[in-house]
């Protein structure tokens, strides 16, 4: 547990992604099985001990520490696991380090009634940092900034294996991933996944910049504004994976139930509505905001299912009846897809239509109209390309509609992280109400060059009028041209508006603040 505790601590304080990666790589290389596998599972929140809850820990603490002192401490620290780790008295004498697997075995075997005693016995064998690691492992909520994707990359880097292979195998093998490590270290062949509903890494697109493509070589499709998902059905189990390979099946039980063919599809998860595409073209879709109501849930109420009915607009077919189709050209996969989709329940699955355009110019015209149809843009897919993981040059392009933009006034600034810790690099900006008041409409921390950042930083320092902790309020004089992909109604903001992907397009030193845009203008852009 000592090594794991040290790893967590360093991850908490390390902000750079590369440094986090290096720390995990080092840990995986120098820690034996099965501890490293359990550690990886804990970091990616893949463990769940149903008998151990925060309440268990609170009850337990009451047996060792005065309740009032616990309450005062918890209030100060702000986190139950950390408070408990710091308060738990050190047991007299030194005991041998507790291995993670011992801890996992004990926690997994615990029943609700003996959980407090089990946790107490484990805590007695650890120091404060070890207790913190144990409680985070038991309760979840590690919050060390390690995504599943980062963990997989660390594994690939540690053992010199392709990250795409790791992605595939990862979801097929439960913690502590012994066969995965055996394969990584060259001690065993690649595990066989015939009967497992495993995740295949997504094929991704490059943005289309200046290129012009020939529609004889490329097929065009709408880019719908939902989330990319992969649905896998194998050996009687259906799983839904999001972009990073995170499983989100529990949030969409109706789709799990409706997808009963032995196959793997790639598509856009959407909610029924009339915003995207319009109802007359083909069952329309609601805005991304509507979909957000359904994301990140462990259980879904009947009302949720009724108010936000989800469906998948299918883009691609990766496997069917045990055959892997990913090596086939897109045109052949598309042919099979068009035959396959009608076999699925039409209420929950439909085919993403191709865009009929005579040539690139005609497509450009159609794309220009995408904003009215509230579609994110256009996808271009090479007809002869296989389905390959990641972003490969020249195969797929995303051609987003042109961004919207607005002239806003800088209101507040905050320092950034890591290399930007000494720069005011996060800006809150606002637009004018009818009564001449500035209301915040968004926050951006990208889009500018290093030179512009230096200038903005100086502007903030020279024009500060007030400070609230780390935030500086500035003189309302600087106009920023802000670009954003779309704007939505939002109850969470005073202005009633929320931007998607706002970034600073230009610094408008030439423009007086009074001439910045009005809230009403932005409201007119809402989709």
């Amino acid at each position: 547990m000592k090594r794991f505790a040290a790893l967590i601590d360093r991850l908490i304080y390390t902000r750079s992604r590369n440094s986090k990666l290096a720390l995990i790589v080092d840990y995986l290389k120098h820690t034996p099985d099965p501890d490293r596998g359990w550690a990886l599972a804990a970091l990616t929140e893949a463990l769940d001990f149903s008998a151990v809850k925060a309440g268990t820990v609170r009850t337990l603490l009451a047996t060792r520490v005065d309740e009032e002192l616990f309450r005062l401490s918890r209030h100060f620290v702000g986190d139950t696991a950390e408070t408990a780790a710091l308060l738990w008295p050190d047991a007299p004498g030194k005991s041998a380090d507790l291995s993670i697997s011992e801890a996992v075995d004990a926690l997994a075997a615990a029943s609700r009634s003996d959980a407090p005693a089990v946790v107490a016995a484990l805590l007695d064998r650890l120091d404060a940092d070890g207790r913190y690691a144990l409680l985070k492992l038991a309760l979840g909520g590690m919050r060390v900034g390690v995504s599943a994707r980062l963990a997989k990359q660390a594994f690939a880097q540690a053992f010199g294996v392709p990250v795409d292979d790791v992605e595939e195998l990862w979801h097929a093998i439960p913690p502590p991933y012994a066969p995965l490590f055996a394969w990584g270290e060259g001690r065993a062949p690649r595990p066989d996944l015939a009967d497992v509903a495993f995740f295949r890494p997504f094929m991704l697109a490059h943005p289309l910049e200046e290129e012009v493509v020939d529609l004889a070589d490329f097929a065009a499709e709408w880019k719908w504004d939902g989330i990319r998902v992969q649905i896998v059905h194998a050996a009687g189990a259906t799983r839904i994976y999001s972009r990073g390979g995170e499983e989100i099946s529990s949030a969409f039980p109706e789709l799990v139930a409706a997808f009963d063919r032995e196959a793997v599809i790639d598509g856009e998860l959407l909610v029924r509505g009339e915003v995207q595409g319009g109802p007359e073209t083909q069952g329309g879709a609601a805005s991304f905001n509507a979909l957000q109501q359904r994301l990140g849930r462990k259980t879904v109420s009947k009302k949720m299912l009724a108010d936000y009915p989800a469906f998948v607009r299918v883009y691609d077919l990766l496997a069917v009846a045990g055959d892997d189709l990913r090596g086939l050209p897109w045109s052949e996969r598309r042919r099979q897809l068009e035959a396959f989709v009608p076999r699925l329940a039409a209420s929950h699955f439909d085919l993403s239509p191709l865009i009929a355009a005579a040539d690139f110019n005609a497509l450009a015209d159609l794309r220009a109209g995408a904003r009215d149809a509230a579609i994110e843009g256009v996808m271009l897919k090479r007809r002869d390309a296989p389905y390959v993981a990641g972003r490969r040059a020249g195969l797929w392009y995303k051609w987003k509609r042109d961004p919207l933009s607005a002239d806003c006034v800088m209101m507040y600034a905050q320092r950034g992280n890591g290399r930007r810790a000494s720069f005011y690099s996060d800006y809150t900006f606002g637009c004018w109400t009818e009564t001449g008041e500035l209301l915040p409409v968004g926050k951006a921390y990208s889009g500018f060059t290093d030179e512009e950042l230096k200038w903005l930083d100086k502007f903030v320092r020279d024009n500060t009028v007030d400070r609230f902790g780390p935030v500086r309020e500035v003189e309302k004089t600087l106009v920023l041209e802000v670009a954003f992909d779309s704007i939505h109604a939002s109850k969470r903001h005073k202005s009633g508006l929320a931007m998607r992907f706002p970034r600073i397009a230009r610094i408008r030193r030439d423009k007086p603040a009074e001439e910045a845009d009005r809230i009403a203008t932005l409201r007119g852009m809402v989709t």
Partner: protein
Amino acid sequence: MPGASWIEPHPSGIYVKPADLWIDPSRPVARAAVTHGHADHARSGHGAVFATPETLAIMVLRYGVDAEATHNQAFAYGDGFERGGVRFSFHPAGHVLGSAQILMEYRGERIVVTGDYKRRADPTCAPFEVVPCDIFVTEATFGLPVFRHPPTGDEIAKLIGAVRAEPDRAILVGAYALGKAQRVIAELRGAGWDAPIYIHGALERMCALYAAHGVDLGELRLVSETDKAAMAGQIVIAPPSALNDRWSRRLPDPVTAMASGWMRVRQRARQRMVELPLVISDHADWDELTATIAEVNPKESWITHGSEDGLLRWCELTQRKARALHLVGRDLEEEV
């Protein structure tokens, strides 16, 4: 009011009635006895200051000639003076150079005001002495049982380990300009770190004052007079306010460290954007606070600045008479 009637706790300090004198007042008064040089205890503008020679020297450095007035009086540890029938004396508190507990004796009653203190070893100042008394006025900065400072040597080893692990980066340690900075430097020297240590200009005069009082800090160099590249793989000490300031851009890709008792709590360290938290404090931790009260074993404890509630609760649980004083302006977080 329980306890002695001849001293009065006020929000702005402790008033000793028969002597017409204040202890650590937060506003200018005619006569002030000062426990130590930190700004929340030693203010400028008093008519006469009674303190240890080191504390007076620190006040002169910080506030200029005012504090040099001839009616100021310096007293070595163990020495003191009498005024209005009250006998005052100064005893080591182990907090920073010159820090003292002030013992007052009046009509057979003994009261000790600790100022700030710690119990563990510090190469830059005299160790805390237990002074028996009837009323013990104790600080409570870390008066919650979550605060248990690890051994200082472990934290220094962590710092040196970080330097070795990051040979291309400077390790920038935030440490309060009076006390903590010099202690971190002296602890590094004690651990065998004999390379030059680079300091922020704001630390220069205080380090020189410590050296003049016999605290060996080894070779110190100013960051402002050093090439950026020369500080890779070196230790740099600066006041906490400089950590994420523009000033830090003159260092090669610094690892931000901070030496403070608050670093025990992970979220606190993260909020300050610290990459390397060092739990090094000049204040007593929970175990030191409670052990000290038990050792001094006063008739009554008065608890000031910090987590009064936690220590008060401990006194209640151990059946000791105690009360919380609510003094103002005693929470300059950066000093601890």
